[in-house]
Subunit: 213 residues, 2 copies
C-alpha cells in the first residue's frame, strides 16, 4: 500500500487521520502541489484528475479521499468510522459530505488561482471568498450537530467518525484563511478532543515528512 | 418517506434517479430555489444547510445526495448501485465523488450569485467559469473510464451505478452552460444509454411536477 499526499492538502489530511485510526502504515509518497507536481505526466498516469490523495493497492490506484476512507472502512472494519444504525450512518455521511462537497472544493488551490488570474482578485478578495463558504458551511454543520442531539466528544457520540475526519482538516483550513468560527462552541469542543487524540495529532499538516513552514 | 427537491437541482436529480432505480415512490415536496424557499425558516428547520435534496424518513431528515443514496443502497440493496468487489466499489465511488466534490459545487446557484454580486461577473464570465470546471472535470472522468477498462453501456459495466447517477445530471449541467464535451466519446455513449433507461428518463428535470420552462 502506497499513499500519495501533500502535507497541506485537506483531503490528504483526512486520509492520514483515517489510516492512523485504522492502524495502517502505508509507504508514503509526496506530491508537491505548490510546485505543480500533480500535473506531471507520471502523476497524471496514476490519477487523471491530478489531485492528491491517491492510494496504490493491489495493482489499483484509488482516488478521492472519501472513496479511499470508505474502502479502508470496508476492508478494516475496526475501529468503525461509521455507526452501525443505518439512519445514523446517513447522518454521519451527510456531515462529512457537507464539508467535502460544500466547503472544501471552493477553497482549493486551482479555484483560488482562477480567482486571482481570471477575476483579478488580490489576497484580501480571496480570503473573503474562502471565509464566506467556510463560515456559512461550518455554521450549518454546528446547527446540524445541535439539532441532532447526538454529538459528544466527537460529532457523533464519543468516538471519532468520518464526520470528524472531514471536520478537523476544515477547521485547520478555517484558521489558514482567518475565518471567524469562535461562536461555534460544539465544533470548538470537538476540536479540543481531536487535538488530544493521537490519530489526529499525528496527521496534522505541521507534523509530516514533507512539512514546510 | 417524503422527498424535498427542485426540478433543476443536480443533487435532487441524482436522488430521483436512485429512487427510480430502486422502485421507490416517496411523497414529493418542492422547494423553489430561484424564489429562495430553501432559506425559509420552515425549510432551515428541516435542513440547516438550506439545500435540496432532503429525505424525511422515520422521524429523521436525511440530507446530502450521496448520503441519501448510500442509505437507499443499504436499505434496498436490489438492484445494487455499487459493485460487490471492494476495489470496484472504491472506483465507482471515486467517479461519483469526482463530480459531486470537484465539478458540481463550483456551479451551484449560491456560488454563481456570489461571482455576479461580489466579483461583478456578467453571464459570459459566469458561463466561462462553469465551463472551465465542467470541461476539465469531465475530461478527467473520461480519462479515468478509459484507464479503468471497466466501462460498458454505463460507467462500470452494463448496469447503472452511483457513478452514472452523478454523471448524467452533470452532463445536463454541461449542456446548460454550453460546455464543449463533444470529444468525450465514452461519456457520450453512456449518456445515450442512460437517456433510453426509464429510471433516468423519468428523473430528467424537464419531466418533473415542478418543471418550469
Amino acid at each position: 500500500m502506497k499513499f500519495y499526499g501533500y502535507f497541506r492538502s485537506s483531503a490528504a489530511y483526512r486520509c492520514r487521520i483515517a489510516l492512523n485510526l485504522k492502524g495502517l502504515t502505508p509507504e508514503l509518497a509526496f506530491v508537491h502541489l505548490r510546485k505543480g507536481e500533480q500535473r506531471s505526466a507520471n502523476f497524471l498516469a496514476l490519477n487523471p484528475q491530478g489531485f492528491v490523495p491517491a492510494l496504490e493497492i493491489g495493482g489499483e490506484v484509488l482516488t478521492q479521499s472519501l472513496a479511499i476512507i470508505e474502502y479502508l472502512e470496508e476492508t478494516h472494519p475496526s475501529p468503525p468510522l461509521l455507526p452501525s444504525d443505518l439512519l445514523d450512518r446517513a447522518h454521519v455521511r451527510a456531515l462529512a459530505l457537507s464539508i467535502a462537497c460544500d466547503i472544501h472544493p471552493l477553497q482549493n488551490l486551482r479555484v483560488l488561482n482562477h480567482l486571482r488570474e481570471e477575476f483579478g482578485q488580490d489576497q484580501a478578495g480571496i480570503d473573503r471568498w474562502a471565509r464566506r463558504w467556510i463560515e456559512s458551511g461550518l455554521s450549518a454543520y454546528e446547527a446540524t450537530l445541535i439539532a441532532s442531539g447526538r454529538s459528544g466528544a466527537f460529532s457523533f457520540g464519543d468516538a471519532p467518525t468520518l464526520a470528524d475526519i472531514c471536520l478537523i482538516p476544515q477547521v485547520f483550513g478555517a484558521q489558514r484563511f482567518g475565518a471567524d468560527i469562535s461562536g461555534l462552541k460544539t465544533i470548538a469542543r470537538i476540536t479540543t478532543h481531536a487535538e488530544a487524540h493521537p490519530a489526529f495529532y499525528a496527521a496534522h499538516p505541521s507534523r509530516q515528512p514533507d512539512t514546510e513552514v
